[in-house]
């Protein structure tokens, strides 16, 4: 049931791509965004590639400081929204802009710096 509601909520509002590499994360450091991003990280099967502790497996480690497609919040946003040529799916048709920022916030929360 929980999933059904989520799916309905996702059906509309594709992520709008006015975000640039320099765009600041509007949710940076917010506890509720971190929690929501954590939930989405499991629900959208991100953990299947990047592991539940984000240290990678099938996909890259998200806890180190090596970013193939840039580690600024706006760059991480774009990687999630549009995918990459090396296997990361595009999520802009499945997640709202807010939800993508929530996942970015969660990933940022796992970084020491």
């Amino acid at each position: 049931m929980k999933y059904l509601i989520l799916v309905l909520a996702l059906a509309a509002t594709p992520a709008v791509a006015q975000v640039t590499a320099e765009t600041a994360n509007p949710l940076a450091g917010k506890a509720d965004a971190i929690e929501a991003g954590h939930a989405l990280f499991g629900q959208m099967n991100c953990a299947g590639c990047h592991a539940y502790d984000l240290t990678g497996g099938m996909g890259p480690d998200l806890t180190d400081n090596s970013w193939q497609y840039g580690g600024k919040p706006g760059e991480i946003f774009h990687t999630i929204a549009e995918g990459t040529p090396r296997g990361m799916p595009a999520w802009n048709d499945k997640l709202t802009q807010d939800q993508i920022w929530q996942i970015v916030t969660y990933i940022q929360s796992k970084h020491a710096n």
Binding site: G42, N45, G48, G87, P89
Partner: protein
């Protein structure tokens, strides 16, 4: 300090065989009386298919390299292919040519063994779709390639099978088998019998629906294709299908043993080895774990996941099947190799297959009927009390059931099993099988997941740890009749390489920390070891060169599922080098008889110095 003493103790037992009492057999006598049909009976020096024969023995009759001279094995030549994903296949040698195929992007090389240094004859670059990179669960590997009818035939990660002219390196045909953007990939080693090439899908963690297909060797058209879950008609299950155990008998069990339509994402992908049985004209292959890996979401037996199929090699009609792990809760799979042998059994000879399952039991199964004759643990496991031979069902330990959002500690083995796809070898001389195995457990927390096409459909969060002794791996000799170990060699990390055994009773295998070893097949004594440039997760092989000299070859390029240990001490960086060994490192153009080449010839200089750099 106590910890240090423990470590020291562990180090001392490494590479020292433990021989069971009373398990010695004199030279040239078999331990078990087991034999094998080594069809198609290639010339002894050739290696034209991954496991050398249809039965999947990986036995070579060669004996030039023997216990007396194996200590003098040295590198004859090497070849780096430049690709950094895990290397898992064995080279093929057909005539005077060696064939290699890299992991993604699946580049094929033909090397001319008749010339000094085995130079490249041709290179073939198939350029598979890079979107496949993100869909391969366990590194971007390829487990092997096949030679037949003057063609090199193999799978591409992007769900094509391709055939290349073995003389010229030109593409002959390429057949599309699935849609990589939805999750399936192809990493399996194509297997050829007669005019058919057998291939299967990968993607046990991607919500795929597995399939197995036979293609025509001449033009690549699909002769038959069988799903591994679904209605009987889509699985080529008909009147010939006679499973031995009644719980696998019924109509459309590939649908009714799943909730709703979950079989459609139920994986059961046949990504492992294929064997062929000329006596019964049957092929055998296994299926992967069910999807999603979280079992609470898919109550039921989940047929035909984690199972082995016997099919008519011509029509694909299913003959029997056996599910090793009903309702697989731990990702134990069923894709490991099925080695076809004959054993003495209750006063008669039985045609059987031996299968080391990830679940920790080694099964000896009648290959005409699917009856399980022997099912004994070959390593550390605690998920099942035993396999009940009356029903064919495992008796599951209650404490081993995973729980959603709760950590269940110390389930043995973890998802990757007591042995993974890394193929074993069988010697008709000793009557034993030889296998690299794992000694480990997991703390498992399950999560419910939902299906998103092209994304993992998984749900297992786990921490793996080494089992008793602290060593992650072992290499063992196994008696398939009594179902027991004969000897074992402890290793620091998982032993995730294949094995080859020879007519001189030598077994070769490699370790993840880069040691390539030769072992006495009877005693388990390590006779020779050589440190290579990367960990070994490929299968070794042996062949006679055009110079009639015996060589042993293995890729060092750690990767694939073995990457789960990438943070352990001793795990080596990736690599891509094929190492070829001979006694004293001799070979065409090597050593004191070195060929006078362009590099060494004292020719008069008639070329401007700058041109020499071109």
């Amino acid at each position: 300090m106590a910890f240090r003493r423990f470590l020291l103790g562990a180090a001392l037992v490494m590479a020292t065989p433990a021989l069971g009492a009373g398990d010695t057999a004199p030279a040239n006598k078999s331990f078990t009386g087991a034999t094998a049909n080594l069809a198609p009976g290639d010339a002894p020096g050739q290696w034209t298919r991954q496991a050398r024969d249809y039965a999947n023995t990986r036995y070579s009759p060669l004996s030039q390299i023997n216990k007396a001279n194996v200590g003098k094995l040295r590198i004859a030549w090497t070849f780096s292919d430049g690709q950094m994903y895990g290397h898992e296949g064995a080279p093929l040698v057909v005539g005077d040519t060696m064939y290699l195929v890299t992991p993604y992007p699946n580049i094929a090389y033909a090397l001319d063994l008749s010339k000094a240094g085995a130079p490249i004859k041709w290179v073939f670059q198939p350029n598979p779709d890079p979107r496949s990179i993100g869909e391969a669960c366990c590194d971007k590997v390829l487990r092997g390639w096949a030679y037949a009818d003057g063609k090199l035939i193999y799978n591409l990660l992007d769900d094509h099978t391709v055939a290349v002219d073995a003389a010229t390196g030109k593409e002959v045909w390429r057949t599309l088998l699935d849609d990589v953007t939805k999750g399936p990939t192809m990493t399996q080693a194509a297997f050829v019998v007669g005019n058919k090439v057998f291939v299967g899908s990968s993607g046990g963690e991607l919500g795929t629906n597995g399939w197995f297909a036979a293609l025509d060797v001449k033009d690549g058209h699909i002769v038959w294709k069988a799903l591994t879950n679904g209605p009987d008609s889509t699985m080529l299950i008909g009147p010939d299908f006679k499973p031995f155990y009644p719980w696998m008998v019924g109509k459309d069990l590939g649908v009714s043993t799943w909730p709703n339509d979950m079989w459609k994402q139920g994986a059961s992908a046949p990504w492992g080895w294929v064997s062929y049985d000329p006596d019964l004209n049957q092929i055998y292959y296994g299926t992967s774990n069910p999807g999603p890996r979280t079992p609470s979401q898919r109550p039921g037996l989940n047929l035909w996941s984690a199972a082995v199929f016997a099919r008519d090699a011509d029509t694909g009609a299913a003959k029997w099947a056996y599910q090793f792990t009903p309702h697989d809760e731990w990702d134990y799979d069923g894709i490991n190799e099925n080695v076809l042998i004959e054993i003495p059994w209750k006063g008669a000879r039985r045609k059987v297959m031996v299968h080391f399952n990830r679940n920790g039991f080694a099964y000896t199964i009648d290959r005409a009927t699917g009856e399980v004759l022997v099912a004994e643990p070959f390593g550390l496991q605690n998920w099942a009390k035993k396999v009940d031979l009356a029903t064919g069902m495992p008796i599951v330990n209650d404490a081993a059931h995973p729980i959603v959002e709760k950590k269940v500690e110390n389930i043995c083995p973890p998802d990757i099993g007591v042995k993974n796809w890394n193929p074993s070898a069988f010697s008709p001389r000793t009557g034993l099988l030889y296998a690299g195995v794992f000694n480990s457990c997991m703390d498992l927390t399950n999560h419910e997941v939902r299906y998103i096409p092209g994304a993992p459909y998984d749900g297992m969060e786990m921490v793996r740890h080494a089992g008793p002794g602290g060593n992650w791996g072992e290499f063992i000799a196994w008696d398939p009749v009594k179902g027991k170990r004969i000897w074992s060699i402890k290793e620091n990390l998982y032993v995730w390489s294949g094995a080859v055994v020879t007519g001189s009773d030598l077994v070769f295998y490699g370790t993840m920390d880069g040691w390539f070893r030769a072992v006495d097949a009877r005693s388990g004594k390590v006779l020779w070891s050589q440190k290579l440039g990367s960990g070994i997760t490929a299968a070794p092989m042996t062949f006679l060169g055009p110079d009639k000299r015996q060589y042993v070859a293995v890729y060092a390029g750690v990767g694939g599922g073995a990457g789960v240990l990438r943070r352990e001490n001793g795990f080596m960086p990736g690599g891509n080098t094929l190492y070829v060994f001979s006694v004293d490192g001799m070979g065409i153009g090597n050593g004191t008889t070195q060929l006078v080449s362009h590099a060494t010839a004292a020719a008069p200089i008639s070329v401007p110095p700058a041109a020499a750099h071109n």
